[in-house]
Symmetry: C2
Amino acid sequence: VPERLVVVGGDAAGMSAASQARRRRGPDDLEIIAFERGDYTSYSACGIPYLIGGVVEEAERLIVRTPQVFRECQSIDVRMRQEVIEIDLDRRAVKARSADDGDETWQGFDELLIATGGIPRRPRLGNSDARGIFGVQTLNDGVAVGAFLDQRVPNRAVILGAGYIGLEMAEALISKGLQVTLVDQRSQPMSTFDPDMGAVIRQALTGMGIQVHTEESAVAFEQSDGLVTAVVTSERTLPTDMVVLGLGTAPNTEIATAAGVRIGPSGAIGVDPHMRTDVAGVWAAGDCVEKFHRVARKGVSIALGTHANKEGRIAGINLGGGDATFPGVLGTATSKVCGLELSRTGLNESEAADAGFEFGSATIDSTTRAGYYPGAADIKTKLVFERGSGRLLGGQIIGQEGAAKRIDVIAAALWNEMSVGEMVNLDLSYAPPFSPVWDPILIAARKAVQVVEG
Amino acid sequence: VPERLVVVGGDAAGMSAASQARRRRGPDDLEIIAFERGDYTSYSACGIPYLIGGVVEEAERLIVRTPQVFRECQSIDVRMRQEVIEIDLDRRAVKARSADDGDETWQGFDELLIATGGIPRRPRLGNSDARGIFGVQTLNDGVAVGAFLDQRVPNRAVILGAGYIGLEMAEALISKGLQVTLVDQRSQPMSTFDPDMGAVIRQALTGMGIQVHTEESAVAFEQSDGLVTAVVTSERTLPTDMVVLGLGTAPNTEIATAAGVRIGPSGAIGVDPHMRTDVAGVWAAGDCVEKFHRVARKGVSIALGTHANKEGRIAGINLGGGDATFPGVLGTATSKVCGLELSRTGLNESEAADAGFEFGSATIDSTTRAGYYPGAADIKTKLVFERGSGRLLGGQIIGQEGAAKRIDVIAAALWNEMSVGEMVNLDLSYAPPFSPVWDPILIAARKAVQVVEG
């Protein structure tokens, strides 16, 4: 009799794990059953704004692998529209409920992988069930927004939350011709960036015609005939034809918590580097788990598809009989809104302070290509580093085309605990179409060295 | 009386050093005299093909800083059109010859920086002094080619040497409407890439309409009325209206050798990490010096502006009373020819074999953006690594827009001696306009891990 692996959640982490486990153990050795409550497996959630904006024409294009392919090519028994609502650790079984008929069934397991992802934060306000108020977390959400845009042809949108999803949705809705207003209760858009960088982002957003209201929170929705008509904030009433919630997600730990699986200080499921929970035979991966932050040296809850895919792969290798560990994260992330590219990694200034570092910073302006080469665009690069040692702690980039992806070089330096003094001599590539002879990252490192040397 | 620093060569290395030294020591403490034999200081030699191709409109745009600015803003006594032809170490003086009147003058020094750069390799063939045969090393060369194109309006060009400069000149001349033929005596274009990658490059070049002849060397030029009319190769006669020499450079060590300064095994001037030669008070930097290759663990001669600028900076810091060392190079380089982007770092397969490594490799095809995102372009990524340990030894990238600069992430990993197994979990950024969720570099690392694990 083969062992049975049950996977709860059929997206990035869950299906990466299932695929890796299958690659190493055939169906005679390991039965794999995956429960997914939605209509899609393994899709690019990060592509949803581009689906809504019409950059991507069909929802199907965002699907990496369909349930049918998992079933037929990998012998993974994917059960769609089945939500796991309970884990019984004594019986080693999960209870699943059908989204279609509400039927509940028990399924036993030998090994269990919890990959329940995140749940979108929703404001608990009056009329929050009005039509025209959308989350953008699942592909189902994306399809719903697209249908609303087609049918209602709204003129105005209010986006709550000026983070990655908020900005990407702003681009999508601008491209559909809407007037867009961003509302965030924090003091700046993109609060994972420092205030000086946030000010630059705000200015760019305003320049695109986006209204940006910060230090302002939604207190109620107004509706008419069940359709949202305005967002009432702490400062004003914003008439609107639709609302998008970009308030981020919280780790979805409900069934894990109920079963008694250990939750970490960050609020996400605690796992060891092999992606094991504290319960034998129970694993977890993806947005629902706590990650080790390599610079802050503590557990954090960050929802990023890059992490979820890697964690799923690690869990799958181990479930497949291999031995792999997940070494932690830097929180590297990037986004694009119209012509503006943003990226960041590691600790920003306030995170560096929280982590107990004495830090300095250096910010420089340069160009993405040689200054004389056509298309040379602005790029602003900031490095945060430890005073004294000059150890790199984090980086932030704002710029135009060709700017954002350079954050990966900073991430690689940070991963290896380089100092800004060491970074100055990094042998980076140069040709006029791609860079000034001193790459912007090296210019930033040079300035940082000056700060360190006082 | 201030100390006197004499700099021989007024380009990247020499003027970087002079600027750094000046920043740390004022004119009352350090007198700085720089000799430059040409008409320009501190210009972007790598921009010359773009000047010739008309992408950059004026030669002046390639000049980073003029002699006048060095003189007036930094009190650096730049002496133009003065070639240093002898170093007298006993008298601590250099002899300079004027390009205008041939006058020779001696100039004493306390400290000397040799930054004589490279000399272009020229084939010693019949009629090699015919008009229409051009090097493209100095800005003067670039201006001369531009004038020839304007006045003669040639239809055909033969480029000898299919390396970086050869490819960039091919793009420039294609954009001017010429028929271009590349001739290289080696077995492939871009011989710093492995044969499998070279084959892809060849195919792309051919697809652009460029004739590519490899394993073929020029044996003579034909001329008529002093103007080149054909290149005779080992295989055929190629009628042409002009010839461009892209055969690379050799370190210009003539006066250093004559003075008895130590030359390293690579043929370039030997320096310690502070950029000191073996003679007290004599320093060297740039294309004329040997560099320590961090992976091959030996001295190499590589001519790259990125290295020259960094070495000049290091020498200048030390000359200015600071303490800095140059940690060596990886040989990271990149180029663009029409829509094709190329980049490489570290050791390729034959270099890995030469360095005594047992190596493996992994090559993958991916896209520069999420596959569903408009503009997603092909990117082929190859990693070379040590068998057993999986230690990264080098990387190569060929692709379309957005591909080449990713080599910097591989360079940063290589700098830090990462293994391919460690690289898989690097926290690189992701958003659909910039990358698939598994960055191509991570996909290559995953495949490499499979090769390592057998």
